[in-house]
Structures are given as structure tokens and as C-alpha cells.
Symmetry: C2
Subunit: 282 residues, 2 copies
């Protein structure tokens, strides 16, 4: 199968590695608007060639994967659909779905497009961030599958199941709500935590960083993530993210008030309740 990947960053690049590793791509074509990324993707062997433009990336491919930031996705995905002919399949790998699916809802090639979100990533970006095995054992969400050709859905699912990934079907609205809770809010709190500590450091508290142990590193890790990736995600999923952020502020303020009021029994009850997360994230 000839596969073209538009966007050779963390997700596009890691997909290239995984597809090649599992023998799923006989020929890999890349398109990348950042020239240094394009050069690096070739050096790393992520793709076999870099296409000159979108038309020449799309034409020879059985499958086109659009793996660009969510803002670019809204313009590039319709352009790709404009270019495809019968038998070609297009997927996005975007982190938000509602606005994207609305943008292609009336497109004559809509049924050749399958909306998927591989629930995997790291805090790094660009082709150098591509890692083998990123998707292994993770979940692939397929959104609004009814709007796609059953054969296209079957082909795409078989491809990702081979990585291997678990497949989960969700409506686009449900997807955006749930990812706000399990992914987007984690990034926002991590960014805020980094800003909190850096604010203190500006006041000369350099010593903080000699002390950073595993707990701090794991909660602040996501704050290294690229704004070019995350601002478009927050923008596309703004209402859900604000909803969960407001709930988080309620919970943080509750803990704050219990501590300020020296209500340690109440604080214990809250932390015991938080411990219930053990049942879900073993």
C-alpha cells in the first residue's frame, strides 16, 4: 500500500515508523511545509520521498494521512478531499473532531474520509520526536463512522489494529467532551504548574530546581508540549475545555479552603475520594 503522510511531526513521523515496521506501507510519501523538518524526515528514513506539493502527495497514494496541527487541519483536509479520486482513503489524526467534521460534512468525497484519533503522544514535537511503538497497545478512536464508507472504515481499522491498537467508536461531540477530560485539561494544568514554578524562580528561587524529584517531573512534563500543537486544540475544543477547567478550579478551591480553614478531616475525605482514581488508572 502506498501511504502519503501530510505533516511529519511527532504523530505523522511515529505513524510512518509504525506502518513501516509492521510491513503495512510499501511506499511512504511525505509532505511537510517546514523545510528543515522535511530534510530531517528523509535523513531519519521516516518517508521514502518528499512530495513537491499537495497534489503530487495525494495522487499516487492508496491512503492519505493528514497529521498537521488542528488549525491547519481545517483547511488542508478539505483540500485533500478535493484532490482524491475513487478508491482512495483519507484519514486525519486530529485531537478534536466536532468542528473538523462540520467543515467537511457536505463534501462529495466525505465517505472516503475516516476520522480517527490515536490516543498517544509525548511532550516532544517534530520529526526527531518520532518514536517506534508510540501507538502500541493504545486506543484508536473512530468518530462518526456512519458518515464513511464501511469498506474504508474496515481498511483503516485493520491497519491500526495491526500496530496493534484497540478501536473504539465515538460520536464527534462525545469524543471532544471526553478528550477535554482525559487529555486537554492535563496539559492546561501542567502548563499552569510550570508557570507557577517559573514565576517563583524569577524571584530568585533557583534552588527549586535542584530539588525537583519524580513527582514534579511527571506532573510538569506536559508543559514542554508545543504551543503550535496545543493552542489550536484548545481553540477547537474551547467550550469543553472551559467547562472542565471551571470544574477543576472548583475542586482546587475546595482543597484550598479546607487547608486554609485547617479542616484536616475534610481534606482527608477529599483526598480519599481522589484515591478512587486508582480503580480507573491502575
Amino acid at each position: 500500500m502506498t501511504i502519503s503522510i501530510i505533516g511529519l511531526g511527532l504523530i505523522g513521523g511515529s505513524l510512518a515508523l509504525s506502518l513501516r515496521q509492521h510491513g503495512l506501507a510499501s511506499h511512504l510519501i511525505g509532505l511537510e511545509n517546514n523545510p528543515s523538518y522535511a530534510k530531517r524526515a528523509l535523513e531519519l528514513g521516516l518517508v521514502d520521498i518528499i512530495a513537491a506539493d499537495l497534489a503530487s502527495a495525494v495522487a499516487p497514494a492508496n491512503l492519505i494521512i493528514v497529521a498537521v496541527p488542528m488549525d491547519a487541519m481545517l483547511t488542508i483536509l478539505p483540500q485533500v478531499l478535493d484532490l482524491v479520486t475513487d478508491g482512495q482513503i483519507v484519514i486525519d489524526v486530529g485531537s478534536t473532531k466536532h468542528n473538523l467534521l462540520a467543515a467537511v460534512a457536505g463534501h462529495p468525497r466525505r465517505r472516503q474520509f475516516v476520522a480517527v484519533h490515536p490516543m498517544a503522544g509525548t511532550e516532544y514535537s517534530g520529526p526527531d520526536a518520532a518514536v517506534r511503538g508510540l501507538f502500541e497497545g493504545k486506543t484508536l478512536v473512530v468518530c462518526d463512522a456512519d458518515a464513511s464508507h464501511p469498506a474504508a472504515v474496515a481498511t483503516v481499522e485493520a491497519l491500526f489494529r495491526a500496530l496493534p491498537m484497540r478501536v473504539l467508536h465515538l460520536g464527534a461531540a462525545d469524543h471532544d467532551l471526553h478528550t477535554a477530560y482525559v487529555s486537554h485539561i492535563s496539559h492546561l494544568t501542567s502548563f499552569a504548574l510550570a508557570l507557577t514554578v517559573l514565576e517563583k524562580e524569577q524571584r530568585g528561587e533557583q534552588r527549586i530546581f535542584d530539588l525537583a524529584g519524580g513527582g514534579f517531573a511527571s506532573t510538569v512534563r506536559l508543559a514542554k508540549s508545543a504551543p503550535a500543537t496545543w493552542v489550536p486544540i484548545f481553540r477547537q475544543n474551547r467550550e469543553n475545555v472551559l467547562d472542565v477547567l471551571d470544574e477543576h478550579l472548583v475542586q482546587l478551591n475546595k482543597l484550598r479552603d479546607l487547608l486554609a480553614g485547617q479542616d484536616y478531616a475534610g481534606l482527608t475525605t477529599q483526598l480519599e475520594q481522589a484515591n478512587e482514581i486508582r480503580k480507573i488508572i491502575p
Copy 2:
């Protein structure tokens, strides 16, 4: 060297394993007020024997390590100092220092006591949480070393350097301020994040948990931590924790307002600033 460890949880148990592994303890005595923990510590071979009471744990030891939660620490450490005779050394491994050092400031055996904080841990607790290598490559903070015999400080530092750990000297007040920033706030935000998601789940959003990827797991991991460990830490370091929590609420509200106001340029600037944490946590 005969070493007694009072409290055979995550830290006490892991220290037992590390001291044994590096040939630093010829005989290990444990004391544990939870009978099932005491039984388990023997089964796991963390210690050679369990002492009947505090006096018989302290008497034969060259070094006594007090590794109990911070509330119990405030009463047990003075009791241990009451029991020691010339030549014995006592350390605590507590996460807060100011109140503890104030509690033993006038004790006639104060100079035989060295206040240390090994900056290492996991979200698990009890003797089953004890892991080999927990302290390897981590930082040991020695607090207010001037209040201890230089020979006692040298003995304790040599012991921890052999694990191997890096040694850092800090005043107790500085220690409590900095740990609020690098450890205590991470735990509070993680507890609040778990409560946020569980609140949503109570409303029937079970699906959330099918989607939880690596980002969520790493930010919410600390919410599995024991309230019996953490409430006493928040209590003993209440002013610093409230100070950093209030700064964190300012930063979170700033991000919220930028998103609510659709100021994506402003949001980008903030996230770029948060990225500076890369320089500190590589």
C-alpha cells in the same frame, strides 16, 4: 552498623532495601505500629527483626531512622531522642522541617540528630511499596546541619552518598518553601485533577476512562498517594502550600481568561513561557 527503622512504609522499607543492598547495615531492626505491615516487612525481608517497643528498637542501634508520617514524627522523634545515649545517631526522613526542628530545638540530644529529606518517592505506600534503587541518583537535603555534631552529619552523608545520592544543604525554612513548589503543589493539583474527572464520571461519563492515555496517567498518578502521608505534610507546611496554591490559581485563571476571551496570541505567549521549564527539567 546496626540500624533501626521506625516506620516500615514506602520510605522506611525502601531505605532498608537500599542499606542492605549496599552492605551498609549488618543488622536491621524495624518498628511498625500496624501489625499487618510489621508481618509483611518480615515476610519481604526488609528487616531482620521487629522490635517489641520503641525502647528496644532504639537501644541496640548505631543509627535510628524515623520514617513515620509527619504528624506522628512530631511526637516520635522527641521520644527517640529521650532514649538515645552517647554515640547513637538519629535521623528523620520527613517532608517538612520547620515545625519538626522547632519541636526538638532545645532537646539535650539535639546534636545527635541530623534532619534529612531524601527527595524520592512513589504514589504507593506500605511495606509492599518498598522498592530497590528508589534513592539512586536522587538528592538528599540535609537541613540546619549546624545544629548537629559534624561527625554525625559526616556519618549520615557518607551513608546516603553510598546509595548513591547527591547531598544538598538547606535551612529548614528554605527547604519547606522549595518543597512546596516542587513536590507538595504537584500532589495537590493531581488530587484536584482526579476529583475533577471523578466528578464528571459520577454523572455517567464512564467512557472517559477508556480514553485515558499517557498524559492523563502521568498527571493524575500522584492522586493515588495516601492521605495519611499527605494531609500531615500539607498541615505542617500549610503557609507555603497556600502561597504556591494561590499563585497556581492565578496562573490557571490567567490561562482560563485568555481562552474564554479567545485571545489565542496571548495564550500562545503563556504556553511558550511555560515551555521554559524544558531548561530546568530536561
